[in-house]
Amino acid sequence: MLALQRLGDVLTAARVTDALSRRRSTLAVEVIHWDATTQAAALLPGLAARHALPFAALRKGARAHTLAPLRLLASRLADLNGPRAFDRVVNLSSTRFACWLAPALLAEGGTMHGPSIDAHGRFVSSHPSIAYLNEWGVDPELGTFAHQDLYALAAGVRMTGWGGLRPVGGRRTGPVVLHPFGSERAKDWRTPLEWRELIGRLRAQLGRPCVLTGGPGDARGLAEIASGTDATISTAPLSASIELLAMATGLVSVDTVAIHAAAAVDCPTVVLRQGPAQGLAFVPGSNALCVDASRDSATPEEVTMLAERQFSDTPAPLFVDPSWRMRIRVREGHRDEFGLLGLQQPSWIKNDDAALVDDESDRLWRVAWRSELERDTPPANVLEALMNGRGRFDAQRWQALLQSPSGLGVAARACQRPNRRAA
């Protein structure tokens, strides 16, 4: 299995490694990852071996001359391929590097799952879910599936019935965990001062101690936020963070590895999403409340109000100010009857009917695309509903679909024609 991405993406491969390793026909599952994501790869269940490729050394070698990284990569692959290579290669990364590399790991007559590039440089999707991912990408307006689900479908993994890395249930009595820093500054939420204010509010409202987490490189920034509060700081490795999240009351985090770690141990999470983090592609799990910044990001007071409900077993109803909808979008993760992740308005938000229209639109788009993923014909009434949809993204989704070479695109164009004639 190729998981050549960031820490969080590698963690989302847990469902796939677990499922594949439990199959009777599987001799062993091995994962190839970048050396910088060793901590996440170490948490993946069911693995017989993990192989770290040296990202920095390959990049460094490329600065010297072309043969240096070629020799290094070839020797690492010779070591991990052994005399026979692999019967099945599951690629969970859409980078061109991974798409070129994946077939080099296949034994003769082996099967490729996930995206790859053939010897003539042509993209090969191997499954309609990857064709969808390639065509629609992770566009926050167009996409209606979590990208981790699309990769899992391509790997042939059943989407229902995975319990995560730990048995779920039991009362959560641990601290409130806050994770302020991600890998990109564009994903940051507000200022250190406002994080400090949030700590004060959460402490007062929930009565639990707060722990600030991050990587070793974040220590100074975390100390700045923690100053003047009674919050503690943890820059412990990912395995220790998983233990902390397994007992934590909840997590408030930007879009980074912490939210995927929380999803793997069913920890209730408030995800503060800005910039490229929005949309349905990056939903970590069904226990996450995604707070998307629109014109502005949520205030510390609003985040506290949301966290209080998200971390509670019996959340109090919330009647939102109508101006909210212009600034932020609040939705919780859920898995539909097919086990696919989506986002919907939490049941405790009471007065936002427009959000319900958007949720129904997302649901119908998933129904339509699922028929394509199952190589089936989409129900005619669903296509009609999408063509006339009133959801916030229905118009651009329909226009994009009319250009799509997929079977669903063909069906959409056929649906459009009689309507035009009638008009």
Binding site: A64, A68, L70, W100
Partner: protein, 184 residues
Amino acid sequence: MSRRPTPVLVKSGDSGAVPMPVVAEPAGGIAIVEPNTAHNTKQAAPPPARTGEPLVLWICDPPANAPPGSTACTPEQASAWARGLLPDWLQRRRIDGVLVQCDPTAPATVRRAARSLRERVTPHEPAGLRQLAALWGHAAVVDATARVTSRGAPTFADLARALTRGEDPESTRLARLCWALEHL
């Protein structure tokens, strides 16, 4: 993870000098190095451990200023190597990639020494790459580099195309790796 002490090259003035790992105490992320004179330079010392990964030669004086993970080299030594023969160990390491670096704010003499050694160890045209391919000794790569006709330093795409023209399966596999590296 503990950090290994930075190996340091012995100042000998001899262009064939072998690098001398020197006892170092990590402090604040930078290795403090004992003066080279404390060591018996007649005793053969191992070159920097070979891992298949690129070697970073850091040109500085004193050698203790080299950042962790790099191999320190004095400007005098770098200039001597740039003008004359490269020592065997460094010649062998060229196939793994040798990056010659220095502090961008270092004196002009240091920057000049780094630049001239960099010119010496980095191949800039197909002929240089053919030399390195011979050093690697991989038949498919030797054949492919003989077919590369680019004007400047060959790119991964140049090498991939040349490998694709080889008909054995190993050339095809290496061409695929080149295309992958083109997109790293």
